[in-house]
């Protein structure tokens, strides 16, 4: 294909034929004016143009993908299949939430207007979040949109959280939204691995292979990813793969050891430990994912703002971060957990929020450092020389380049959040309504599991916590090796 071929291919067809009569001329003028107003000024033209190109590109990409999928190794192939599966799961969770929880509240609502508005908002947020989730897959496949992936992720997580908070009164049901968040997070991580992987883009197979090799050569990273996938799948399937519901009580068999009826035995109510474990795993992962991602998102927002604006805003934000940093985290979490606004009930999302309040400075400071060094890079100068606005610089240049660091930090943060949830639960400040791994440990302690020899009550949750945090740690370490090449083994 030569240059002229290409220009011809991209050439636009002429839209209007020239008017031949005066009346026609007049009508055409009006039409043109109207078109100008409705077509160009409203951005419709832009949108339709964009859609057209986009559609064409998607078709292109699907073909490319088809070719591409058979060029790569099987592990990455599985990864991609999983990406799509998790993505589907995320969308279906959001839709499920809308259909089974939010909409019924809206339609059945006999309550006040407030409830009605809340439910309506909830539905809207859910649908918007679902739309952004849909967009993620688009972004994965279409290059132009890929640089917007972090922005989308941020918007989407905020949307889902808004839905989550609205869903708080129906705490048991809002789990759907949380799962959507969890799945979507994994989708993004997988997508990032399989398509966008840190420095790599779809087309540059060599480069992509290099960095995915670093990740997958790292045996720990591989193990971590496998463990995480298994855990998340188990948590997602939850009690549906066991014979019991989490709150089923088999009062004829209390404190029974593992047997073929109860794989991991029962507690003092005859709750099936295996079922409860799967149920808890979900909540613990949710706390981890929500707290971890929200914490880093807030940290990133503040860090980037601080670095970009600089001056006294920077000084004040960073001094404030310093102050929060010098307060010992666990005692500070107690303090916040005990504040009366919780009125004695602690929901798991509250634990997540407390975690965010305590730990945002860590990520804010790191991201600020990164953003400051990016700010000095000349590509930002060159964008500015072309008249780029601050918004443009932040969203198109700073955030995409901070994203790898963000991702590593989110993973670290999630690992930590899961542990802190367990700490708070152990000290009696957990969410007593939803099973969580920490709560299981506390319950085991209440039943004197170690002294009475009920090992099946205490070791499974402990090992589950360990496996979860371990998988996060391993993945984080593998990421570290990519981000920080010095750590690579030679």
């Amino acid at each position: 294909m030569t240059y002229t071929d290409i220009t011809k291919k991209h050439e636009k067809k002429k839209r209007f034929s020239k008017p031949r009569e005066k009346v026609n001329l007049f009508i055409t003028k009006i039409r043109a004016t109207l078109l100008l107003i409705f077509w160009e000024k409203t951005g419709l033209k832009k949108a339709i143009n964009w859609l057209k190109i986009w559609f064409k590109k998607v078709l292109d990409k699907i073909y490319q993908l088809y070719l591409y999928l058979f060029k790569i190794n099987s592990f990455v192939f599985v990864l991609r299949i999983l990406t799509v599966l998790f993505w589907l799961a995320a969308v279906s969770m959001l839709l499920l939430d809308t259909i089974t929880v939010a909409l019924p509240i809206y339609t059945d609502s006999l309550g006040t207007d407030e409830v009605l508005i809340k439910a309506l908002l909830w539905v809207i947020f859910d649908l918007l979040a679902a739309a952004t989730v849909l967009y993620v897959i688009v972004a994965i496949f279409v290059e132009e949109e890929r640089s917007r992936l972090p922005t989308i992720a941020i918007v989407q997580i905020f949307l889902i959280l808004a839905g989550l908070l609205l869903g708080l009164p129906n705490s048991e049901d809002s789990v759907y939204v949380g799962f959507a968040l969890l799945f979507n997070f994994i989708t993004i991580v997988f997508a990032y691995f399989s398509f966008v992987a840190l420095d790599d883009q779809v087309k540059s197979l060599t480069q992509f292979r290099k960095s995915s090799k670093v990740f997958f050569r790292n045996r720990m990273g591989k193990i971590g990813l496998v463990i995480l996938v298994v855990l998340v799948t188990l948590a997602a399937l939850g009690p549906s793969i066991t014979r019991y519901e989490a709150d089923d009580m088999d009062l004829a068999n209390i404190h029974e050891g593992p047997s073929d009826i109860h794989i991991l035995g029962t507690d003092k109510f005859g709750h099936d430990t295996w079922t409860v474990l799967l149920d808890s795993l979900g909540i613990s992962l949710l706390v981890g994912v929500v707290a971890g991602s929200l914490c880093v998102l807030l940290g990133t927002t503040i860090g980037v703002t601080s670095a970009y604006i600089g001056g006294w805003v920077d000084t004040i934000l960073m001094r404030f971060a310093d102050i929060v940093l010098v307060m010992p985290p666990l005692p500070l979490m107690f303090l916040l957990a005990s504040l009366p606004f919780l009125l004695g009930t602690i929901h798991w999302s509250m634990i997540a929020i407390i975690y965010v309040i305590v730990f945002w400075p860590v990520s804010a400071k790191l991201i600020r450092g990164q953003a400051l060094s990016l700010k000095q890079r000349t590509f930002i100068h060159s964008a500015k020389a072309s008249g780029a606005s601050n918004r443009y610089v932040i969203f198109s240049h700073l955030l995409p380049n901070v994203f790898p660091l963000m991702l590593t930090m989110i993973i670290t943060s999630m690992r930590q959040a899961i542990l802190y949830e367990a700490f708070l639960a152990y000290l009696g400040l957990g969410d007593p309504l939803n099973n969580s791994l920490g709560l299981m440990l506390q319950a085991a302690q209440n039943q004197f599991a170690l002294a009475s020899g009920y090992w099946w009550l205490i070791f499974p949750p402990a090992i589950a916590i360990a496996l979860t945090t371990l998988s996060f740690a391993f993945i984080g370490m593998a990421f570290d090796e990519i981000v920080n090449p010095r750590l690579r083994k030679r």
């Binding site: 005692p331 303090l335 700490f423 402990a462």
Partner: protein, 330 residues
Amino acid sequence: MGLWKYILKRLIFALVTYFVAVTLVFFIYHVMQGDPTYIYSGNVHIDEDIPDSTRERWGLDEPLWKQYFIFLRNLLQGDLGYSFFKGKPVMEVIGETLPWTLLLLGSAFIINGILGILLGSLVAWRRGSKVDATFVLTYNVYNAFPLFFVGMLFIALFGYYFYIWDFPIYFPLLGAQNPLSYRFTFIQQVGDVLWHLAMPLTVLVISGVLGWSWFMRGNLINVKTEDYIQTARAKGLSENQILFKHGFRNALLPVITSIGMSVGGLIGGSVLIESVFNYPGTGLLLLNALLENDYNLVQGAFIIIAGLTLLGLLIAEILYGFIDPRVRNA
């Protein structure tokens, strides 16, 4: 900038930070808390107006800003207010528990520092060997379990099952000293305190040492790729000489800054450990005060704990200033 000027600057900064933190805690607590005198109204047979007179007595009917200044003035005089639950000044209550916490934290701090740095250097220098792999695995696995779970295991194993299995050694479980230690000689008393300290300290120290070594290892690995190490190697220095003359010192610097930061985590860990091992420290006090809604005590304990953290940070910064003159000018 001279060393003294640097120290002064850090001191002023620490004080200002502390002041803001204290203010924050005061306002969080006073805007959101209930009435601290409610403990008095716990008895249903008390007349309704009595809490009012009590409020007057403790200056609680003053406007908030006035209370704040009273609080600040008292704080400067070392008075953290009155614990309505304990019925005595907060300072006194904390004073009873603080020595134990300082003992636990101090010894953990020192052991962590020394062992952590040594172990970290060892594994970093044997990078890729079995020692290193074992270390990485141990670090990750140990830290993957919640600290209190490890504590629970320790208690059950060393305090109970060792006895059941007729091991000659088993550890005490309750408190920080033997109730009958008044009968002991001084040396026996010291031994007794150490004996009680052994288990909580071990749990705290294992995670601390692993954490520190992890950090030290990372730093040393970074340093190892620096040009001057390659130069030293080219000069024909032995690996050990390189380690101690070049690598060690340069890797140590960031570790020292992290000392301060680690104090917060250490205190958090000690809260968990104290509650698992019934150790009578300030962390446990804070937790109990929280569960009993003793607001002044919570506030006081938190102020003290935050002060400890800040002190750790300050010491680390000053130490850093001693070692690395560049920092003073930054």
